[in-house]
Symmetry: C2
Subunit: 454 residues, 2 copies
């Protein structure tokens, strides 16, 4: 490895994944990346397997992974070093949390990785996933490995057996992280049933533990919706606590029918229903026959001195506010109010709580808030968050999958005021034009609108 | 144990402490009780040792704890059962989280405890403290056991040796919690250097883990102060973002001198300085020569539609608001604003962050916010929180100790407007009268005002 690296001043952290193949390392790495970026820590995953596929192609047979195969060993070492070099380079360009995604299953390999990183002033946290239950591993192989580019053209049964052989080869030499390695580590045993934390320090490490503690891998759906059209959506006023319009109330009816069709009609229990504390969200769920939880953290972004004003009057009477916000919509804080970053910060407990839930959840809130929640699930950066298009009268169904969430839009059949001046969606006229367009499409299509993987 | 217990519907939790003597069980139990009560979970500690001292007196020699001593065994079992019965009774009267504080160091004892609790519908979480480092244990004995009522009249050396003998007797038969016990547990090894979490579920258990992860046992001081007198303190207006008055600026100077005397003059590094985002707190720390962190979560309670009004005008123009708030000051939420409970909720991350810090922290914020933080450290209930007296121009120094915090007040030598109409301190005229009195005392005395243990 290279000598003479500069060391970094701010506290940079590398999460070094540890574990045999098909233990969820990549899954965990992706989830952490998404969460930490959303919180505003600049985070990236460096996956050695991708380097292998990129450099050598995806069709290496199991014996490439045999420790007796000298050529394979050397090739894999070179890839690991290449990937590490790129990560160190990325740290030197402002990266804050790097995730080094490889098996790292021997002490000697971990010690090399640790020395290299500590030499450049990066703290190391090993994150090991251990499975003692063979059923979990079998299920993981089928769920993710068969879709892997490594087995694109292979017969499924052969692929599974090749992959098991690959695991076996690692297994012989693999060593779990031990206290004698004198390092911070987190061990996740059997998909989180047990967790062992050793020498956890610092703010970022605390966030990582809280997240891992709340997350699980059961697939389920999260439903997101803004409230139905409110009186202030029509007048274009910001914030406040207005009631729904007739159209908004019609949406509340439709939403209840939608939920009935998704759940009750299919013999499923109703989802948890979470709203903000404002009446427009509460009215939107009032026909859904279940209790709901009202979170203050789900209230709309606080527009401070601009509450009750229209965008036009802000531009007119407080042009410096309109300008500053347009210039940096993410970080700009309304005088006496909030910025998008403030909203993200206060949503963190909601995100952890929704992660913790094993069943479906319906969240009915407001434009800026739904943007921030959507950004989390779909892996959007903070910078993108204030510009995400969340049309009125539309349900977003996000279904969690092994490496991210899958999205479906259901625009329900209720018109809303055409040039809808909803506070958060029309602060730049370009944006407004674009958005109006989008909304039209959404309203023309009926039923299923779009399916993306985020 | 009794038969035919009613089972409870809501999810009640019992934290069952496990560990040899002098492992910090009581310390951890007290901290958790304080934290959970502050968050609004009704929590109480049931300490079997206190039952022993109450029923049999504090002067039982070590051989009372000898498992060979039949009479001792029977007596201790009876006490454990008595204490358990009281806890179950307390659960049936609305208790939510019970903490059963005893050694519980054998499998058979834990199995009995678990069965009893599960039979009445209470979930069980074992919380074990293990020390493999004998120095930690020796230090613990000296720090807490010599002050214990068990050794009130004993010679210190004899007391330590008797206590070690007591530990030895337990040690012979003690068994650490194992996976085969098929239970949720948390193990804290060597004062949190390592933590093992098994089958942690549910909201309260998550809170408990986050708390334990952030807490440590190093003594240090937290300094709390309201901002210096602001222009609105003088006019009696609520909220807003006013500047300091001349007197307020004089306090900022005094505070800086105080910190200089406490730290720099004593050769200590300056504390961390945290303020709200409002200018009156930032101006209050501006002479302290160190960086400060501005937390949005430290902003004053949001008075919603009452921002900028005086208490008189609220009473006059919005009598229903004044009445409702007087009726339930803790839970009453200003229309468009916050309640004290809302403030406590948003302060939770601040509390975890201050717990995590190993060095001193100075927090300069606002009346309602300092009340809530003070309530946490001094173990005040949510109900007491809105009525705690936090005079202007006074530094509270809270020093953490094994079973709680110790408080010292430093009223700095700066006058402030006499009938100070600070928003949070004069919402009932009785209260106002009382408080004016208190303030007078505070201003008359000079230097050290009061020392209590909370
Ligand atoms: N903590 C975990 N323990 C075990 N399996 C998990 C865990 N988290 C996620 N999984 C599951 O593991 C599978 C994904 O495996 P993934 O590709 O992430 O494994 P990997 O360890 O990165 O394997 P490889 O070494 O081949 O890259 C998914 O089915 C996912 O649901
Ligand atoms: N996690 C911990 N591990 C070890 N010691 C701790 C821990 N937390 C606190 N302590 C220290 O333990 C001492 C307090 O002991 P404490 O009285 O709480 O022990 P105990 O286990 O309740 O003993 P006993 O069984 O005699 O009641 C204090 O000095 C405290 O600082
Ligand atoms: Mg992988
Ligand atoms: Mg004790």
């Amino acid at each position: 490895m290279r000598a003479q690296q500069p060391t970094f001043n701010t506290k940079k952290l590398c999460i070094v994944m540890v574990g045999l193949p098909a233990r969820g390392k990549t899954h965990i790495a992706q989830c952490l990346q998404r969460y930490l970026n959303w919180l505003g820590f600049k985070t990236a995953v460096f996956n050695v397997g991708n380097y292998r596929r990129m450099m050598l192609g995806g069709n290496q047979p199991a014996d490439f992974f045999d420790p007796e195969n000298q050529q394979g060993v050397r090739a894999r070492m070179e890839l690991a070093v290449e990937c590490m070099n790129d990560m160190v380079e990325w740290f030197s360009n402002g990266g804050l949390v790097g995730i080094y995604d490889a098996t790292n299953s021997t002490k000697i390999r971990r010690s090399m990785v640790k020395t290299r990183l500590e030499n450049v002033g990066v703290r190391v946290l090993f994150l090991e996933s251990l499975c003692t239950d063979p059923n979990i591993v079998e299920k993981n192989i089928i769920e993710t490995k068969l879709r892997s580019p490594d087995y694109r053209h292979a017969d499924p049964e052969e692929a599974v057996s090749d992959f098991k052989k690959r695991i076996e080869l690692y297994n012989n030499s693999s060593e779990t992280v031990e206290d004698s390695e004198n390092t911070s580590y987190i061990k996740i045993v059997n998909v989180g049933r047990q967790m062992i934390l050793n020498d956890i320090q610092g703010f970022a490490q605390g966030k990582i533990v809280s997240f891992l503690l709340n997350s699980h891998i059961m697939a389920r759906s999260i439903y997101l919706s803004r409230h139905g059209e409110s009186e202030w959506n029509v007048t274009g006023q910001l914030g406040g606590d207005p009631k729904l319009t007739d159209r908004g109330r019609a949406y509340a009816q439709c939403l209840s029918k939608f939920i009935d069709a998704e759940f009750t009609k299919k013999g499923k229990e109703l989802p948890l229903v979470w709203t903000s504390q404002l009446q427009r969200t509460r009215q939107t769920v009032e026909h859904i026959p279940t209790m709901n939880v009202r979170w203050r953290a789900l209230n709309e972004i606080d527009a401070g001195i601009c509450e009750g004003m229209t965008y036009e009057s802000v531009a007119d009477k407080l042009p410096q506010v309109a300008r500053a916000r347009k210039h940096d919509k993410l970080k700009y804080r309304y005088p006496g109010g909030e910025s998008y970053v403030d909203v993200i910060t206060r949503l963190e407990p909601v995100i952890l709580e929704v992660e913790r839930q094993r069943g479906p959840v319906l969240i009915v809130a407001h434009n800026a808030v739904i943007r921030a929640i959507y950004a989390y699930f779909m892996g959007k950066s903070q910078e993108e968050c204030p510009y995400i298009d969340i049309p009125l009268h539309t349900v977003f169904r996000l279904t969690t999958r092994a490496y991210g969430a899958e999205e479906q839009l259901f625009p329900l059949e209720v018109a809303h005021t055409y040039q809808n001046k909803t506070p958060e969606s029309c602060d730049s006229s370009d944006e407004q034009a674009e958005r109006a367009n989008d909304n039209t499409v959404t309203q023309l299509e009926n039923g299923l609108h779009d399916t993306k993987i985020g």
